[in-house]
Amino acid sequence: MIYDCLIIGGGLAGLTCGIRCASNGLHTAIISGGMNSLHFSSGSIDIAGYNTKGEIIKKPFDYLKTMIKENSAHPYAKTGIPGVRESLNFITGKFMEEGINLNHNNDMNHFHVTTLGTLKPTFLSQESVFNTDVADIANSHNKIAILNFKGFRDYYPEQTAANLKKNSMFKDKEIILGDISLPYYLNTEKNLHEFRSIDLARIFETERYLPRIAEEIKKASGGASIVSLPAFIGIRNYKTIRSKLQEMTGKFIYEIPSLPPSILGLRLDNALKNSFINLGGEYIAGERVVSGSIKNNQVEFVTTRNSGNIPVQSKFYVLTTGSFFSGGLAAGFDNISEPLFGLKVKGENKRSKWYNSNFFDRKSHPFLGFGVETDSKFNPVSGSGKTIKNLFCAGSVLSGYNPVSEGSGGGVAVSTAFKCAERIIKEIKND
C-alpha cells in the first residue's frame, strides 16, 4: 500500500497538514512518536508578537511585511502573507467544528496573563483564557479573584497577583487570593498534593462535583465577579463545564496557562486529532520513524520502530518532527543535524556559537533559529546537495526564525504545514 501523503510527526504542524490533505480526499497517514509541543504550550496561537528589538507588535499582519523584508529566509516569506491568513482561517474553522472557539481581537494581538503575572501578546486564544479584556470587564466591578486548588503544587497565585498589580491595566483593581478544595477528595489513596493539572481536570469533568466546586469558588472569591483558575477546568467538555460553573456562581471564570501538562494545549491536540481521524486520516500513535531512504533525489521509503524492516511508502512525505526537544533536530558534540534523512541544516558547528551568555538574553539564543534549510517550496536539500522533490518540511523543524523571541511558533507551524499540504494536493491532482 502506498499513501498519497505520509506525515512524520503529529504536532500542530503535522496535524494541520494532515487535516488539509485528508479534507481533500488524499490518502493520508500521520506517524507520531508521542507528546508534542502542544502538550506544553500555552494553547494560544501566536503569529508575530515582538519585533527584533523585543517591542510588542500590535497588528501582526501588518508587521509580517517588515519581517519578510528583514529576513527573506523566514518561513513566512515562503508561505506569503495571504497564505498565513488562509491557513489560520482554515484551522480555526476546523477547531470550531470540534467545538473550540479560537478568538482574536479584530486582527490585533491581545494579551494573555501568564502564571507569573506577565502579559504575553498572542493572536488566537480560547475564550476561557484570562486576557487583558478582563481588565475592561472588571472596570465596573473592580474585584478579581485569583484562585488555586488547595495543595496544587504547579501554580502559585500570589506570584500572578504580585506582577499583575504592577501593570497599569490592573493596578487599581482589587485582587483577592484564595483556594478551593473538595473535602471528599482528600480521602483518596493518592496524595492529593501530588495532583497534576490532568488529575484536576478529571475532577472538573465529573459532573456531580460541580455544585460543590461552585460553592467553593463562591466562598473563596470574596465577592469578586471575576475569577481565574489555573487552566484545568476539563479537557473534553470544558465549554459546558465552564458555562455551568459561571451559571452556578454568577461569576466570569477564566483560565491561566500553567506548568505542563497543558490542558489548553491538550484540548487543541485532541480536537485536531479528532478532526483528522473523522476525515478518514490514519493516525499511527506511539510509533517512530527510524530512518528514511533517499534514492535519485526522492524519498523511497521510511522504516519505523515497530514495522521491522517493512518499508512504509508514500507518494509524498512531510517532515514535521519538531525541533530539538521533540527529536526533529539533534545536537552532536560540535554539529547540528536532522537525524532521519540527514538533510542540510542551518546551524553552527562551533558549540560556543549556539547560545548567548545569559539565559534570558534580550537577543534570545541562536540555537532556536537552527533547523532544516528548504527552498521556497519547503523542499529540503539532501546531504549530497540535491533538492528532494517529494519531501516537504514544516513547523519547528524549519530554520530561519526564532519562535520564542518573535512570538511566531504557532503561526509558522500552521501556515507552513498548510502550504505544504496545498503543494501536495496540487501535485497529486496534476498527476
Partner: protein, 565 residues
Amino acid sequence: MNRIETNVIIIGGGATGAGIARDLSMRGLLCVLIEKNDIASGTTGRNHGLLHSGARYAVKDHESARECIRENKILKKIASHCIEDTGGLFVTLPEDDPAYHRNLIEGCKYAGIEAKEISIRKALEMEPNLNPDILSALVVPDGTIDPFRLSSANILDAKERGSTILTHTKVTGVIKSGARITGVECIDLKGRKTEVYADLVINAAGIWGQEVSALAGIEIKMFPSKGSMLIIDYRINNVVVNRCRPPADGDIIVPGDTVSLIGTTSKEISYDRINELTVDDEEISILLSDAEMLIPNVRHTRALRAYCGVRPLLAVSGEAQGRNISRGIALLDHHERDGLEGMITIAGGKLMTYRLMAEKTADLACEKLGIKKECTTHLVPLPGSEKKIARKSRIKDFTGIPDSVVGSTLYRHGQRLHSILTKNKKNYRVICECEMVTEGEIEYAIKKLEVKDLVDLRRRTRIGMGPCQGELCAYRGAGLFQEFGGSTPEESVILLQDFLEERWKGMKPVLWGDGLREAEFTYWIYQGLFGMAHMDEVKHKKKKILNKDILPADAKTDNKKKKGK
C-alpha cells in the same frame, strides 16, 4: 548602622569557616560568621568532593598523605551522613609508567594508607565500565564527601550552640584601634551596614583571603589555580577511579549521588580573574578524552554541567615569585608576622582537611584569647550523623511514605529527617522528581538552614541538580519560597530568574545531545510560556551592591604590574 559584639568573627562560610565556627562554639566561644554569598558557595562547593585516602599524595608529599588518611578516618565517624564510603581504585593504563604502581604501594605503606593490589579481573568486576586494557589495579580507602551537606551541618551545629551566621553579607572593611583590629564592617544584600566587634577576627576567606587581608593593610599572596570539572548524568562508576600516575589533568572520576564527576584540569590564572569562572570548550575536550581512557563510554553519557573552582594556594612568607607555594595548610598569626594584633588567616589545605584546619585555627585563637579548652570536633558527630539508622527501622518509622523519599531525605539530612518527614502528607509531596526533594524538606531548609534564595536552597536540598536541571521544580521551589515566608511573591519571581541564570552557567558549556533538548524546553517554559525576560528591571539594582569590588586600589595595580612583567 547595626552593631554586634561577639568573641570571634569568622570571615568566610566555606568548609573551613564553618568548621572553625563549630569548633569554637564547642569550646564555649560565641562567633559571628560572615559570608558574602552563601555557605559553601566558594571553592568548597566547586570541587569534586573526593574524600582522599591520601594515596594521591603518597608518592610525593608524605605529610599531606598522612593528614588525609587521619582525617579520612575521623570524618567517616563524625560526618557519616555527608560521606559515601565508596572505596577507590588506582589503575595503570598501557600509556602509564608501570613503575609508579610500585612506588604508590610503597608510599601508601609509609603513610599508613591501606592499599591492596587486586587482579584486573576483580577490578573489572568492581567497575564493569572500566577500560579492560588496564595493567594493574590497587584498592584504597578513598570515598566521597558532599561539601554542601558537610558545611551546612557544621553551621547548624554552631548555630545551635549560640553562634550567629550572616550569609549574603560581605566584609568591606576592618575596624582598627591602633595596631589592633577590633572588628569589621559589613554590608548585606539590601545595602544595610553592620559593624561587628570582637576580640579576634579570623580570615577564612579562601582564595579571597588576599582581598580580605588587604582590607587590613596586610599583604598575603595567593596563587590561583583554576580547575574545571564535568558532571555526567549517570553514575558510571561506583568507586573512585584514579589513574595510577603522578597527579595530572583528567585523571580521576568520582561518583556522587546519582552522577559521576570527571576531574580536573589545572591552570594558573591571574588573581584579578578569580571571579570570572567559565569553563571553555577546550577544557571540556581534555576532560572527556582523558576520562575516556579510564572509562571508555563516558562520551556516550549525557553531560549535565561543567563548572570550575580556584584552588586557594598560598605563597609562604609573602614571596612574590611563587616558587614556594604551600599545598598544605597555612596558618598565619598576623601579630607575629605583621605586627598587627587581633587577626589570623587560615588558607590552603583541602576540603577534607577542613576539620584539622579548624582545629589548628581554633587552638591558636584560644591561645590568643587565653581560653583553655581542648578540641572535641574529632569526637562529637555532626548534627545528622549522631547514629546510623538501619534500613529496616527507617521503613517502619515512615509507613506510607515512598521509600525513595525516605532514602533521599535520610541521605541528605541524616537523623534530622525526623523533623522533615512528619505525618502531614503535604510534607512529603515531591517537588523535585529527579532528586526526590519534598515540600517538607524545602520548608525545613528555608526555616532552619540559612536559605536566602533558590540557589542556596539547591545547595541544601539538591533541588534542580538532577537530569532536568530544574525545569519544573525551579518554579515550584520559587512558589514555596514565598509560601514559607522566605521572600515576597514578587521577589520570589526574581529569585527564580536568578536561579535559572545560575543553572545556565553550568549547562551552556555542555549543550550537545540531550543538553540542548533540555535547554530548549526550559527556555520555552520560562520565556515562551511565562515571559520571564520581560520583567527584569528590578533585579539589576539589587545585584550591584554586592558586586562592587572591594579590592583596594593599590592591590589592583599590584596585580597589573605582575602581569606586565
